[in-house]
């Protein structure tokens, strides 16, 4: 039974959700709504689990003065500061109608200015900084890897250059000025060529990948439903 009960639960739930997709009756939709409500509740509790894990790992590193322990300490301090400001900030909201300090939902920037300042000036800035690394990494990756070693690589390179220049308005503008208008629109604009590449060859390739991925996902789902793969049994020796 220890092996069979999880299998039954997984298979029944999987088949039910598959059938529910095609059955629009209210009872089935209600069932799906209830299950998704459970997912939302579990998602909220899962965050507690994750934070506890992170704090425990970081604290152990700090206590043992392990390698790079200051980073672990920074993690703990960052969590404590944001949590405190967000929760405690709600206790010090000035209610304009009564003139007293009161507790409120304390993370909206206008309700909790300190949290808002930290969010916009610290978190937002750091998040954008990491994303901006992409620009530099893309340039170095492009220089290193985009080489026309054979015909297909050359075609890829040509298409990439056209799309890159087409998505840059300045080059598209000069293309129009020097090639399109003098020839009375006999030559397509760079934007139109780019859109054609994205709409036809790119879409064809993307659809092929989507088909393959979809069928592979279907096959994996079938394997899980019939019990050939049991990822939910991890840790039980099965």
């Amino acid at each position: 039974m220890r092996r069979q009960v999880p299998f039954i639960i997984a298979t029944v739930a999987g088949v039910l959700m598959l059938v529910q997709f095609f059955v629009p009756a209210h009872g089935m939709v209600r069932m799906q709504t209830v299950f998704t409500l459970y997912t939302r509740i579990i998602g909220g509790f899962a965050m507690v689990l994750g934070v506890a894990s992170l704090m425990q790992v970081s604290w152990v590193r700090v206590k043992r003065r392990a390698d790079n322990w200051p980073f672990a300490l920074t993690t703990i301090l960052g969590f404590v500061v944001m949590f405190s400001v967000g929760v405690l900030g709600g206790f010090f909201i000035h209610d304009p109608t009564t003139g007293k300090l009161t507790w409120s939902a304390g993370i909206a920037p206008d309700k909790n200015p300190v949290f808002g300042w930290l969010f916009y000036n610290v978190y937002t800035t750091m998040d954008a900084t990491i994303f901006s690394l992409l620009a530099f990494y893309m340039a170095s990756a492009a220089y290193r890897a985009m080489r026309a070693r054979d015909l297909t690589a050359g075609m890829l390179l040509g298409a990439a250059i056209i799309v890159m220049l087409g998505r840059a308005p300045l080059t598209a503008y000069f293309w129009d000025m020097w090639l399109v208008k003098p020839t009375d629109h006999q030559i397509a604009s760079l934007g139109e060529i780019t859109e054609w590449l994205l709409t036809y060859p790119n879409t064809a390739a993307t659809r092929a990948l989507m088909f393959g991925t979809g069928l592979a996902a279907l096959a994996q789902g079938v394997r899980i439903l019939v019990g050939l793969e049991r990822p939910y049994m991890a840790g039980t020796g099965d």
């Binding site: 997912t39 916009y120 840059a168």
Partner: protein
């Protein structure tokens, strides 16, 4: 055996990354020193389709904007949200904002703060920020299809939706005329797959430039009514807004970024061409030395 002589082209193939990073930095930042520089942007069909669809809505219709992104991608996606909000609020179309990411609601609040006052629109009457709900996009969309108040019983600032006048016109997903999903991940696909394909609500999407190639397939089949791709898509929409809706406030952040984007794209193309030239020349040099 003799070692090949290391010439200029050999070194060029192995150039230190930091030189590339420095040149990219210069190309990205110098255009911002000239704030008045505006690069003309040619509007393409995917962005125009979004504009046309919103233009076809009537006063009193409802549009949902899903802020499914974090501040890191805000420079690309917030201009799209601003344009949608501007076009809708000017026409008297109600705008509802929500998010499955915790960073989404403050961004939505900022967009409304910037735009709503320009057209005399008030929160609760003309626009609502419903806030954030954990549990994933799928759970949110399925719940909205049934009953909005079961997913969002209060808005972002804690007001009950029963007390919000605008929410009388948005009780379930099918009350809306358009969903605009702004995302830096495949969350937009989930919105499209559920809201459009399952519940028949038209969906337009705005994604970062990296993701845009993925969504042309959906645009082609009509599963999306329009597509805004990256900062260029946002700049195209800003141009449409500036020419047709609000000439004074239409051009904003995305248009300003086009000069920088153009410079960096040209630089990367030059890098690629130079790298290929170095590959060819260093290959010729090696063949000559072998002979």
């Amino acid at each position: 055996m003799q070692q090949p002589r290391k010439g200029f082209w050999y070194s060029a193939l192995r150039i230190d990354r930091r030189y590339i990073f420095m040149l990219v930095f210069v190309s990205l930042t110098v255009p911002f020193l000239f704030p008045g520089m505006r690069v003309p942007v040619e509007v393409q069909n995917p962005a125009r389709q979004v504009y046309d669809f919103v233009d076809g809505l009537n006063e009193g219709d409802g549009v949902l904007v899903a802020f499914e992104y974090s501040p890191s991608t805000a420079p690309e996606l917030t201009p799209m949200a601003t344009c949608v909000a501007r076009q809708c609020l000017k026409k008297g179309v109600r705008v509802y904002a929500l998010s499955s990411a915790p960073e989404g609601p403050p961004i939505a609040a900022e967009v409304f703060r910037r735009v709503a006052g320009d057209y005399g629109r008030t929160e609760g009457e003309d626009y609502v920020n419903l806030g954030y709900k954990p549990g994933g996009v799928q759970a949110i969309v399925l719940g909205l299809a049934q009953n909005v108040s079961s997913v969002f019983p209060t808005d972002y600032v804690g007001r009950a939706v029963a007390d919000i006048p605008a929410m009388r016109h948005f009780k379930k997903l099918s009350d809306l005329k358009l969903c605009v999903a702004l995302s830096a991940s495949t969350v937009a696909e989930t919105w499209m797959g559920l809201a459009s394909a399952r519940f028949g609500v038209p969906v337009a999407t705005g994604v970062t430039g990296v993701m845009v190639a993925n969504f042309y397939a959906y645009l082609d089949t009509g599963q999306l009514v329009g597509l805004l791709g990256g900062m260029k898509g946002a700049a195209e929409y800003e141009r449409l807004i500036a020419e047709n809706v609000d000439p004074e406030r239409g051009y904003w952040f995305a248009t300003r970024g086009m000069a920088s984007q153009s410079a960096s794209h040209v630089l990367i193309v030059l890098f690629v061409l130079f790298g290929n030239l170095a590959m060819i020349m260093s290959g010729r040099g090696q063949r000559r030395r072998r002979r």
